[in-house]
């Protein structure tokens, strides 16, 4: 896959381009409204949903605050179960471990379970550079990989594609990667799924090495959990001889029993189902069943940076369900590519700056502003991440990271502070604006309700008036009116 998010423009520029793509907007509106309705129905079925959310948040918070102990416990349990544990500070270290395992077995291909962590670290490109092909086996990831495209959603990376586009991609590109699509392929979803089944089966049956992520890693038993739909995950986790799982350090939960919360929260929030079709759990090596060589890579890659952020660390509770994307009015219109990251939508708007740090690049710094702060994401989040509060805090951090600079807003705010700091100065200013109001007369336009507006302001002020209405200054200030009439009707 050569497509990359590197060099993406800041959100406002990318969003403008995305908004002009009316096909994509239709695809997104259809998909997100479908999933919102499904989620609402299955969440309403659960009487103690709010209590499950509180439990999920509390379990994750307890774990994060003692993450060092939990990770050591996880390492001990995994090792006792015959798994080999590796640690990776960053993407390059994690990719190197996977490549070394693959090379050690002399393979030139691996099959992959859908995994956000492996997309985050750019594993496919890293393996390609070593001459190892990484085959995505999740249907949506396969669509993205065959189309040399970028993922635009956490759960359904090809959400921006409709069935006709998917058919086109399969017909054109499946042959390059293995078994070609049937020539008479239609755009019926069942036929498309069948084409993927046939294309991937030969890969599942011959692969020696598989790569996965994990939805959860249980510290006290060394059990990893993969939650999926299609069975491609089961294929990868069961048939090959060797399995490497790349697991973000925030995926740990203390006990097996804690899964009873997350296995209720995740499927209902994610695909809007009571339960997803398949969940696999395994603890290291099971003699005679599944891979007999098991590796686990514990990945930091910015997670400890996020953990150090007092307000932002709650983002590490995220279980990657994507409910926040599906309810977000901004995401629904711009789609995922505009966020320039494998993590788009509201969670991406906080996770990317938290993982990468603010003040480093303009693209990341633009993300906390990619929100109307409406709060729908917080309400939908199964682990109660208060995304709006984190967004506001990150905006402050972005501003702080760019001080000191004499930006026009800063100058205007300083001038306003001076004016509001003294009654005499304010009075003088009001007289001046009243004069301006009278001089402007009937210029500008009238808003609904009769309020008079100024048109487009020239110069740097245009940045403000391009997206907002600026009211015409009133001919008389309140204070002037009060001293003239004493508050009596005129």
């Amino acid at each position: 896959m050569s497509a990359t998010f590197v060099g993406m423009p800041a959100f406002p520029v990318a969003a403008r381009e995305a908004l002009a793509n009316s096909q994509q907007r239709r695809n997104l509106a259809h998909a997100t409204s479908t999933i919102r309705a499904k989620r609402a129905a299955v969440v309403a079925e659960v009487d103690d949903w709010e209590q499950l959310r509180l439990a999920g948040a509390a379990i994750k918070d307890n774990t994060l605050l003692h993450l060092d102990e939990q990770l050591l416990r996880l390492e001990e349990s995994l090792t006792a179960r015959g798994a080999t544990v590796h640690w990776a500070r960053d993407a390059a270290e994690a990719c190197a471990v996977v490549a070394e395992v693959a090379r050690g077995h002399g393979v030139d291909e691996v099959v992959k379970v859908k995994s956000m962590a492996t997309v985050e670290i750019g594993l496919n490109d890293a393996l390609a550079a070593e001459g190892i092909a990484a085959w995505e086996t999740d249907l949506a990831e396969l669509i993205v990989q065959l189309g040399d495209d970028l993922p635009s959603h956490i759960l359904v990376p090809a959400i921006h594609r409709n069935r006709a586009e998917i058919r086109e991609i399969f017909l054109r590109h499946m042959a390059e990667a293995g078994r070609p699509a049937p020539a008479d392929l239609t755009d019926e979803p069942a036929r498309l799924a069948e084409a993927a089944r046939l294309h991937l089966r030969e890969k599942f049956l011959r692969a020696k090495v598989a790569v996965s992520g994990a939805n959860f890693a249980v510290a006290d038993s060394g059990t990893l959990v993969v939650v999926e739909s299609e069975g491609n995950g089961r294929m990868c986790l069961t048939l090959p001889e060797v399995l490497v799982s790349v697991v973000g350090i925030e995926k740990v939960v203390p006990t097996w029993a804690d899964l009873d919360v997350f296995l209720q929260l995740l499927p209902r929030s994610s695909t809007g189902e009571r339960m997803n079709p398949y969940t696999s759990t395994w603890a290291g090596v099971t003699p005679g069943d599944g891979p007999q060589e098991v590796h686990v890579v514990l990945l930091d890659n910015g997670r400890t940076r996020a953990l150090a952020d007092e307000v932002g660390r709650q983002a590490l509770r995220c279980i990657r369900c994507s409910a926040c994307l599906n309810v977000c009015p901004v995401y629904e219109r711009t789609g995922g590519h505009a966020y320039g990251s494998v993590y788009p939508g509201p969670i991406g708007a906080i996770l990317n700056p938290l993982l990468k740090g603010v003040g480093v690049d303009a693209q990341t710094d633009s993300l906390p502003y990619a929100s109307s702060l409406c709060g729908a994401c917080f309400e939908a989040c199964p682990v109660r991440i208060d995304i709006p509060s984190v967004l506001v805090d990150l905006r402050a951090q972005v501003v702080d990271a760019h001080r000191p600079s004499a930006k026009p807003e800063a100058l205007a705010m300083r001038a306003a502070a001076a004016a509001f700091g003294s009654g005499a100065r304010l009075g003088a200013l009001e007289r001046l604006s009243g004069l301006a109001g009278r001089l402007l007369g009937s210029r500008g336009r009238t808003a609904p309700g009769g309020r008079r507006l100024l048109g487009r302001v020239p110069g740097p002020g245009a940045a403000w008036t391009d997206t907002r209405d600026l009211p015409r200054p009133p001919a008389e200030s309140f204070r002037a009116w009060w001293s003239r009439t004493g508050g009596r009707d005129e």
Partner: protein, 199 residues
Amino acid sequence: MSDTSAAREEILSRVRSAVSGADRSPVTVPRGYRATGPVDVGLFAERVADYRATVVRCALAEVPDRIAQALTGRGRVLVPEGFAWPVRGAVPDDGLTSADLDAVDAVVTGATVGIAATGTIVLSHGPGEGRRALTLVPDVHVCVVREDQVVADVPDAVAMLDPARPTTWVSGPSATSDIELDRVEGVHGPRTLHVILAG
């Protein structure tokens, strides 16, 4: 393999310094959700059927007949060691390769637990259930669940299962929502799931 212990030390020390200023007193986890109420076997049957699986209810004595009916027209049938009921003409799992399994038409197994609220069957791959690949590669899975194996909700099932064993949670046949977020049955796992609920 390369030694990653330097990375290990650094990550652990980053974690410690990240939380050093935080209040680390434990947050109470509300567990009221674990009181899950009575088991409704009828609900289990309904919810399994919601996933477009076939559900047949019968008495324990009728299980062999129901299995035979479910297998009508299926060619090679595989049954794992320790399966409680007789299945005519079934082949045992004597170390079949993945390719061998791909040539099998159907598999018949038991299960460890059924979850009524979600319509889920959990296999823990012991006797009567077989290793994980058996219920994955063949296109038809016939699964016998006894009524006394059904529990009310997810917490009851989690509490019964052994985290050291591999488990597979099956809710309906293989499906995807990846095309326009609409559910379509039938991708890589068994495309037909036939549940015999006996008791």
